[in-house]
Symmetry: C2
Subunit: 542 residues, 2 copies
C-alpha cells in the first residue's frame, strides 16, 4: 500500500502531494525551511509523502490559536471535552485498517498482534478512560476546607506541546497517545509535533481529531499539528510565554536541550529520556526455576525487538554455575531467534554504536552485534557480558542505553558487589528482583531491595518490566534520567493528567462563581472530593 495514494485524497495534503499542517482549524501549507520523508524500515525505501519543516511563523500562529482555544475550553463544561475524546476514540477504532497500514509502513512494527490488536485498542481505550476521568472530575482532587472556606482543585494549565517518541506510533502519538489524552482531558489545547519517523500516522490521527472538533463544534485551535522544526525553534516553542507545559518522550540529548530552555522560562517540561531497567535475579530463584526465567527474560527482552521503554537492558546475577547457564541459555535463544525489524535506520545505527561502545568498555560480546545484511533495519539479537568489577570501574559507561534487541548480563562476585552496582545506578523507569518463591532469598532481598526501589519508578517482584498496565496505580516514570520529574507518571489515568494541570485555590469565592467541582453540591453525585480531610462523594453539609 502506498501512503501517498491514501493521503492524496485527504484535506491534509496539497495538490503537489506535500503535507499541510493543521493550525487553528485549517489545513494550510507550512512556511517551511525544507521537507523530509519517512522511510519504511522493513525495506529501507523512502515513503513518497513529503512533510514540511516548519519555521517560527507556523509555530507562532499555532501558539496564538492555542491561547484562544484555551480561553474557549475554560468556558466549556467537562462533558463537552469528554464527548470530544470519545468521538475521537470511536473514529480511531473505525479507522483501524488505515491507521495500522500507515504505522506498519512507517515503523515496521507487526500489524498483528502488535499494532491492530494491542496498541490501537490501548490508544482508544486510553482516550475513553481520559473522557471518563474528565466527566467524573475525581482526577482534580477537589479539596474543601469548610471552616476557612478555601477550596482547591487542579484545572487546565494552558497550551501543551507534545513531542511523541518513535516506539509507540499509536499509544504515545503526539496527536492521540497518552500525553495527548492527559493534556486534553485536563482541559488544555495541544500542539503536537510529529515524531519524524511516523509523520503519516500522526497526520492520520490529526485528521480524525479535526473531524471530531468540527462535528462537535469544539474550539478550532484545540488540536494542532506541525511535523518538524529546527532545534532552535523547538527550544523557543517550549519556553514561549504562551505555553503551559510540554510532554516529551525521546532521546536524552535532544530532550535535555529542550528541558533546559523550558526551565529557564519557568515552563514545566516532562521528559522521558532513557532507561536500562535493571533486573536482579537472586541465586535461590535461579536454582529453583532457571528454565522459566530464561523463557520469561527472552520473551521480555525481545518484545518489540527490545524497543520498549521498559525493555530489561541489564541483568544482574551472582556468580554460580546456574548464572553461567542462564547467560548461555539466554544467548542461545537470542542467537536462534530471528532478528526483528528495528524502527528506523537511526535506531539501528544507534543500537550498533551502543553495542560497540559496550565492547570497547570491556564487555564481552556473547552473541549478535552484527548489522543484518540488506536494506532492512536490523541487528542480530545481542547479548553482552561483563563482570561486576568491570561495571563498578565505570558504572556510567556500562549504563549506556542500547535501545533495541541487545542486553548486558552483569555477573557479580557476590551480593555486596551487586549492592554496590545498584547504588551506582542512575534513575530508571523500572527495576525487578526475582527471588525464591519460598524464603531462600529473603536475606539478600532485604539487603538490596530498598536501594533498588529508590532508583526506579516501578519496582517489580518476580516479573519482567515490559507490559505497562494502564491503571491508576501505574507509575511509568522515575528519577532522572528515566524522566525529568520523579513525582509524575506518563501512563495511567488520572495520574498522568496532573502533569498538565495547575493547582488553584478559591478563597472566599461565592457559590455561584465556583468551578463545578467545588460547589457545596457534588455535581455528579460521584465525584471524589476531600472535605475537611475526609474523602467523600457527598455534598458539603450546609
Amino acid at each position: 500500500m502506498s501512503t501517498a495514494t491514501t493521503t492524496a485524497k485527504s484535506a491534509s495534503t496539497n495538490t503537489s502531494g506535500e503535507a499541510l499542517i493543521l493550525i487553528d482549524g485549517s489545513w494550510r501549507p507550512a512556511t517551511a525551511s525544507g521537507t523530509f520523508s519517512a522511510t519504511n524500515p522493513a525495506t529501507g525505501i523512502a515513503i513518497a509523502d513529503k512533510y514540511p519543516i516548519s519555521t517560527w511563523s507556523d509555530i507562532n500562529a499555532a501558539l496564538d490559536a492555542s491561547v484562544k482555544a484555551f480561553e474557549e475550553l475554560r468556558c466549556l463544561p467537562a462533558e463537552r471535552i469528554a464527548s470530544f475524546l470519545e468521538l475521537f476514540a470511536s473514529k480511531i477504532e473505525k479507522s483501524k485498517d488505515k491507521l495500522v497500514a500507515i504505522a506498519n509502513e512507517e515503523t515496521g512494527l507487526p500489524v498483528v498482534p502488535r499494532l491492530a490488536d494491542v496498541e490501537l485498542p490501548r490508544t482508544f481505550n486510553q482516550l475513553r478512560a481520559a473522557a471518563a476521568a474528565t466527566r467524573t472530575g475525581s482526577w482534580a482532587q477537589a479539596t474543601i476546607d469548610t471552616k476557612a472556606n478555601i477550596r482547591s482543585v487542579y484545572e487546565g494549565l494552558g497550551p501543551i506541546c507534545v513531542f511523541g517518541p518513535n516506539n509507540f506510533p499509536f499509544a504515545f502519538n503526539s496527536l492521540a497517545g497518552g500525553d495527548f489524552a492527559a493534556a486534553i482531558a485536563a482541559g488544555n489545547p495541544v500542539i503536537g509535533k510529529s515524531n519524524t519517523s511516523h509523520p503519516g500516522t500522526t497526520r492520520a490521527f490529526a485528521e480524525l481529531a479535526w473531524e471530531a472538533i468540527e462535528e462537535l463544534d469544539m474550539p478550532r485551535g484545540m488540536v494542532q499539528l506541525i511535523y518538524r522544526t529546527s532545534h532552535e525553534d523547538g527550544e523557543r516553542l517550549v519556553s514561549d510565554i504562551r505555553v503551559g507545559a510540554t510532554g516529551y518522550t525521546g532521546s536524552r540529548h535532544a530532550g535535555l536541550k529542550l528541558y533546559e530552555a523550558a526551565s529557564k522560562a519557568g515552563k514545566p517540561f516532562y521528559a522521558e529520556l532513557s532507561s536500562v531497567n535493571p533486573v536482579v535475579i537472586l541465586p535461590g530463584a535461579l536454582k529453583e526455576r532457571r528454565a522459566k526465567l530464561v523463557e520469561d527474560y527472552v520473551a521480555s527482552g525481545l518484545a518489540a525487538v527490545g524497543q520498549m521503554c521498559t525493555s530489561p537492558g541489564i541483568v544482574l546475577l551472582i556468580e554460580s554455575p546456574e548464572a553461567s547457564s542462564f547467560v548461555e541459555e539466554v544467548s542461545d535463544k537470542y542467537k536462534s531467534a530471528a532478528a526483528g525489524t528495528l524502527l528506523s535506520r537511526s535506531v539501528q545505527q544507534s543500537l550498533h554504536r551502543s553495542v560497540q561502545s559496550l565492547v570497547s568498555f570491556g564487555a564481552t560480546l556473547v552473541t549478535g552485534g552484527e548489522v543484518v545484511p540488506g536494506d532492512r533495519c536490523a541487528l542480530t539479537n545481542t547479548i553482552l557480558k561483563a563482570t561486576g568489577k568491570q561495571f563498578l570501574e565505570s558504572p556510567e559507561k556500562f549504563q549506556t542505553e542500547a535501545f533495541g534487541n541487545a542486553a548486558l548480563m552483569v555477573v557479580c562476585s557476590d551480593l555486596d558487589e551487586l549492592h554496590q552496582i545498584l547504588r551506582s545506578l542512575e534513575g530508571n523507569l523500572t527495576g525487578s528482583i526475582y527471588s525464591h518463591t519460598g524464603n531462600d532469598d529473603d536475606a539478600a532481598y532485604s539487603v538490596i531491595s530498598k536501594t533498588l526501589v529508590s532508583k526506579v519508578g516501578r519496582f517489580l517482584n518476580d516479573k519482567m518490566p515490559t507490559g505497562v498496565a494502564v491503571t491508576a496505580a501505574m507509575n511509568h516514570g522515575g528519577p532522572y534520567p528515566a524522566t525529568s520529574h520523579p513525582g509524575f507518571t506518563a501512563v495511567g489515568i488520572p495520574g498522568s493528567m496532573l502533569r498538565f494541570a495547575k493547582l488553584t485555590s478559591y478563597d472566599a469565592v461565592r457559590q455561584d462563581r465556583l468551578p463545578w467541582l467545588l460547589t457545596n453540591k457534588n455535581a455528579t453525585g460521584k465525584t471524589w472530593r476531600s472535605i475537611d480531610g475526609q474523602w467523600t462523594v457527598a455534598d458539603v453539609a450546609s
Copy 2:
C-alpha cells in the same frame, strides 16, 4: 541583647566566636572562604557573630552524610519521624523567648504580635501538622489496583536542600519552616542553607533540631546546616547527583540561576520567586463600600511593611470619581502611617530602586518614595499611580515587583482595558476581585474572572491576599514567576509534602515486602487510600 553573648555558650560556636556548621551530627568549623555577619535593620549596626562562607568540601561532606541519613530514614517507621517533628516543635515552643529575641534583632520584625504570637506558633504548628500527616500516611495517596496487583505511593525522594527567604525567619526558615517540615515529613533528610540576613535564628533552630535528633537517636545527618556558599557552589549543590530536590524562596535572579543548574541535571527545583498580587476593585464594590475597601487595603498593603509574599502590590481600578477618591484616601493613610523597619539594607535599596524604576517608566509618585533618614532601614510608605494605557504600553516594566511598603494603583479607562491588563500579567501567587455584594458587578466579573484565575495560584473574592491559612485547601503557589511549577503549593499540609516525594509503583510485590501504606491491611485503620478507584480507610478485601 547581644546575640554573641547568647550563643557563645552553645555548641555551635567555636572559642573565637565563629559559628560552626552542622554536618553529620557534628558542630564543626567550616572550610570557609570567608565570613559574614548579619545587621540589625532597626539600628543599621552589624551583629557581632561571624558566620562562615562554606566551600565545596563542606557541601560535599553534607551531601555524603545526607545520603547515608536517607538510607537510614527509609528503614525507620513513620512513627519515629513524626516523633522527631513533634519533639522539635516542643523545643521550639519552649525556646520562644530566645528565638524571638534573635529574630527580632536580625530582621526588625516586631516581637509582638508578629514573631511571638503569630509566626512562631505557626511554625511549631506546621511541624505538628506535618508529624500528624506522616503518622497517618494519607498524604502519600496510596493507590491500589487489586486486579492487576499494582500499588503506588508517594515516598521519600532523597536529600532535600532548602534555601529559606528573608521575610519569614520562622515559618519559612530553612531549618524549621514549611519546606523543612514538608521535606522531613515526606521521609527525607534536609540540608538547610541559612538565609544570610538571619543566620543566628537559623542556627538556633539547628541547635534544637540536633538536640531532638540526639534524644531520639535519629539518623545523624538528617538535618544539616551551612550558612552560605558561593553562587557557583550553590549551583553545584542543587544539581549534585546525590540531591533529591530543592526548595528555594528568594530573589528571582538568584533563583533562576539555581533552577537552570538543577534542571540541567534533572533535579526538581521548587522556587518561589516574585509576585505582585493584583487586586481588582470593580465599580459596584467601590460605590457600595469604599471606606471599608480603603481600610482593608491599607491594612493588607502595610502588613509586615509590605514584605509578605502575598502583599497586594498592584490595584486595578476603572476611572471614576470613586476610583480617584480611593487612590487619594489610601495615599493619605499611607502618608500618615509610620514607615516600618524593612528587613535589611538590601531590601530597602531594592525597594527604592523599584520605586524609582516605576517612576522612570512613567508612573506618578503620589506619596512616599523617600529613604527615611538615619541608620534604620526604611522607606516612606509609597503609593504610585499609572493609567491603564501606560501599563499596556510596557506591561513587563509596570509589573516590576516593589518588595516592601509600596504599591501601584492602575486606573483603567474601561473594563476592556482592565481585561487587557489581566491578559498581560505574568504568573502570581494571588489575584483578588472585589465586587458588589449584590449583582451590580456580575457582568464585569464574568468577563474578567477566568483570565485572572488562569494567572494565579490563589484566587480571592472580596478579600485581601495577605494571611495565608495553613490548610489542605491552600495553594501558596502559581505560574511562573510566582513559582517554578504551577502544580504545587509551598504552604499547607499535606500538599506541600508532594514536592519532595517520589512516586513509586509496586508491581506484584509480596505482601510482607510492601511498604506499610500498601499492605492489604490498613495499618492505622484511618489512612485514606484509593482502592480500585474508591477512596476508603478500609482494608483491601481478601
